[in-house]
Symmetry: C2
Subunit: 401 residues, 2 copies
C-alpha cells in the first residue's frame, strides 16, 4: 500500500487496523467515505465495539470545483499535517489531534470531530457559540504571533518559511480572490439579478487599486504562517468547543488575511440573514450577535497579541516606542481589506457560500448578495483609512439598512 | 580534493589546471591569494604564457570582522554563484562570468576583473564613471523586475524564493544595519568626537520608529531577489565598464534595499569629500557629479523598470490604473529609508567605509562623519513622505551646508 493511489474503503480499514495502539486487535472496523470528492478522500472509520473513531484524510491529485478539474500537488497534505502540528503545539484544544502523517499516501490520520458541526451550517441555523470569539482570537493570536518574526527566532522563521512554500494552493487564492471577481472572467458565477452591481465594481478604479495592493501583500508579505483558508467551513464547532481544520492553504503571508477571512464569513452570514431570519426583530438580534462576535474577536485578538508581544518578544527593536501601535493599526487595516476581498469573491466568484446560495426566496437572496457586496466593497475601499474595529461595524450596519 | 577544506595555493593551481578548456595543457600557472581572509579565499590564477587569468573564490567556514570571528555557512557560496547566474542571464555585461561552481569545496571559478578597480577606491580618487549610472540602473531594473512577481511566473517565484533563504547572512544585516547603530551596542565603533550626535540619535523616537519599520520590511517583504550588499566595494569599475560582484547576501527582500545601498554609498563619498577635495570648488564640483549620478540612477531605473513592466507584465491586475505609480512611490520611499539606514551604520557601526575612515585630518573626518550622519538620519526620518528623488538631493545639499 506504499505507492500513492487513492484508497478504497477496504484499504482504509486495513490501514487503520495497522496503526499501533489505536484500536483493539482483531477488531471489526466500519468505514464511511464522507469527503465531497473534490479535493480529498475522507474516511470516517469507526470501531462499533468501543465506539472509537478516527478520520483518514487523503489528498487527491486533482481539484474539482463546479465541474472543472485540474491537477493539484499532493504536497499540500504534508503542508496541512505540518501546519496542524505547529498549531497543536500552540493551542492544542483548538485543532484536531494528528495521529500520524503518511507522506507516500498523502494521508493524515486524525481525531474524529463528528460530534461537532461545521460552523457555516451552525450559523445558518442561527445558533450561538459563546466560546467562539475568544477561541478563534486565541487561535489567531497564538498561531500568528509565534510563527512570525515577533515570536520566534528570526533565522528559524526563514527556514520554516521554506517548508511552507505552497505555490499551487496560493495560485487558487490569487486567481479566485484577487483577480476573477474584478473582471468578466469565465470563472465567475454571477447571478443575473446582481450583474448591474458587479459590473459597476469592475469600473470602480479606487476599489480595483486597493485590490491590486491587497494582492501584492498576499504575494510578498511573509509575516506569519497562515491557515490560509479560515472560513466558517474550516471550523468544527459546538457551544463548548472550537476546532480549526483543513490548513492545506497554509503559507507565509500577511496576518490580516486570516483575521479578515473569519470576519468576512461572519459578515456573509450577517448579510444572509435576509433569507434566514423569520422576522425583523429576530434578524436584527442575530445580526447584533454576529457583530458583537466580530468585535470581540478583534479586541481579544488585539489584547492577546499585544500581551504575547510584551511578554515574550526578546528582541530590542520590537519594543521601540510607537512601533506596536503602528503594527496593530496596519494589521487592522489589512484585516479590513482582506475581509472585503473574501466577501466579494463569495458573492459572484467561482466558489460561493451556502449562507447566501441556499436562500430559496430569490428576492431575499438578491438582497443578501447586494448587502454582502456592499459591505465587501466598502471594506476594500476604506481599508487603508481604518482606525478601529468600530469602523467595520459601522460599515456593516449602514450597508444593511 | 573533494571534501571541503580551505585550499592551499598549490591546490588552487592544481584545481585550475583540471578545469577543461581554460588553460593550455601542461602549462605553468601562478597563484596569488588576494582575499582579505575575513570571509573568503580569493586565488588570482595566471597563465604567464598566454596572459590568461581567472579567479577562484572559496568561502571560508567563518567570518572575521574587526578581530572577531564567528562560524558562517558555506551555503552562501551556492547562493552567490546561483545569484550570479541569474544576474548573468539578465544583464551579462554587468557581472563576472562564472565558469563553474563546486559545491563540495564552496568554490566559484569566475572571470578575473583585475583590469577594473573597486569603485570605492575610484570615488575616493575622485574619478568619474560616465557609464556607471546607466549601468547600475539597468542592473537594478532588470534584476529586480525579472525576479519579482511582476516579471516572472508567480508560482515559480515562490519556488525560487525557497532557493535563496539565507538566514545567517541576513542576520548580519539585521544586527549591523538595523539594530546595533541605534543603541549602545558593543559592536559599534564610535569615534569619540561624534559620540554626542550618536547619542542624540538613540533618543530620537521618530527615527527609531522608522528604523523598526524598515527592519520589518527587510524581514518580511519578499519582493525580489536582492544582491543584498550593493555598496561601492561590491562594484568593479572602469570608465567603460561596470561589474557587480559578491552577491553572497542575496535573498528575497524589499527592492529599495538594493537601490538604497548604492545611493547611500555615493552619499557617503559625498560626505567624505570634506577630506578628499583639495579646495572648495573642486569639492562642490565632485559633489555635484555624485548627486547627478544619484539622480540619473533613480530616473533611469524608474524609466527602465516601468518600461519592463509595461512591455512584459502579462498579468492583468498589474495593469490596474494607478497601481504602477503607487508601487514606484512606495519603492522610492523604501529607497530613501534604506539609503539612510545604510549610511548611519557606516558612520559608527561595526563595519565602516574607507571614504570616511581614511581621511587623515581629524577635523575633516569629523565633518564628514557628521554630514553622513545628518543625511542618513534625515533620509530615515523623511522616508515615508518622499515623493521625488529631488527630495533626497535637497536633503544631501542642506546637510552639507
Amino acid at each position: 500500500m506504499t505507492a500513492y493511489h487513492p484508497l478504497t474503503e477496504e484499504e482504509a480499514i486495513l490501514y487503520a487496523k495497522g496503526i499501533p495502539d489505536l484500536f483493539q486487535s482483531d477488531t471489526k472496523l466500519v468505514s464511511r467515505e464522507i469527503g465531497d470528492g473534490n479535493l480529498n478522500l475522507v474516511f470516517h472509520i469507526t470501531e462499533p465495539d468501543s465506539g472509537k473513531s478516527i478520520i483518514l484524510k487523503q489528498a487527491l491529485p486533482y481539484a474539482k470545483v463546479v465541474g472543472e478539474s485540474w491537477p493539484l500537488t499532493l504536497d499540500r497534505a504534508r503542508i496541512e499535517s505540518e501546519t496542524l502540528k505547529i498549531e497543536a503545539a500552540l493551542c492544542p484544544h483548538l485543532v484536531p489531534h494528528v495521529h500520524l502523517f503518511d507522506s507516500d499516501l498523502a494521508l493524515t490520520v486524525m481525531q474524529d470531530l463528528s460530534d461537532h458541526v461545521i460552523m457555516r451550517q451552525g450559523l445558518i441555523e442561527r445558533n450561538r457559540y459563546p466560546l467562539f470569539a475568544a477561541d478563534i482570537a486565541h487561535f489567531l493570536a497564538h498561531t500568528l504571533y509565534y510563527t512570525s518574526d515577533l515570536g520566534m527566532n528570526q533565522q528559524q522563521k526563514k527556514i520554516q518559511l521554506g517548508r511552507f512554500i505552497n505555490p499551487e494552493l496560493c495560485k487558487i487564492t490569487e486567481d479566485l480572490i484577487f483577480d476573477d471577481p474584478y473582471h468578466d472572467s469565465s470563472n465567475n458565477n454571477i447571478d443575473p439579478r446582481i450583474r448591474d452591481t458587479v459590473e459597476q465594481l469592475w469600473q470602480d478604479s479606487d476599489l480595483l487599486l486597493e485590490v491590486a495592493v491587497l494582492r501584492e501583500k498576499f504575494l510578498t508579505h511573509a509575516q506569519a504562517l497562515l491557515h490560509g483558508d479560515l472560513h466558517t467551513g474550516s471550523i468544527f464547532i459546538r457551544p463548548d468547543s472550537t476546532k480549526v481544520i483543513d490548513p492545506e492553504f497554509a503559507y507565509y503571508g500577511p496576518m490580516g488575511f486570516d483575521i479578515g477571512a473569519i470576519i468576512a464569513n461572519l459578515l456573509l452570514n450577517f448579510a444572509a440573514q435576509e433569507g434566514w431570519s423569520p422576522d425583523e426583530t429576530e434578524r436584527e438580534d442575530y445580526r447584533g450577535y454576529l457583530l458583537e462576535t466580530i468585535k470581540e474577536i478583534w479586541t481579544t485578538f488585539d489584547r492577546e497579541f499585544r500581551a504575547l508581544w510584551n511578554e515574550h518578544s526578546t528582541d530590542r527593536v520590537f519594543h521601540t516606542p510607537g512601533y506596536q501601535d503602528l503594527y496593530m493599526q496596519n494589521l487592522l487595516q489589512d484585516t479590513f481589506g482582506f475581509a472585503g476581498a473574501k466577501m466579494v469573491r463569495r458573492v459572484h466568484g467561482l466558489a460561493q457560500v451556502a449562507d447566501i446560495n441556499k436562500i430559496e426566496e430569490p428576492a431575499a437572496r438578491e438582497r443578501a448578495q447586494r448587502i454582502a457586496l456592499a459591505i465587501g466593497a466598502s471594506l476594500i475601499r476604506f481599508n487603508r483609512q481604518a482606525s478601529s474595529i468600530d469602523d467595520l461595524i459601522d460599515i456593516a450596519v449602514k450597508s444593511a439598512q
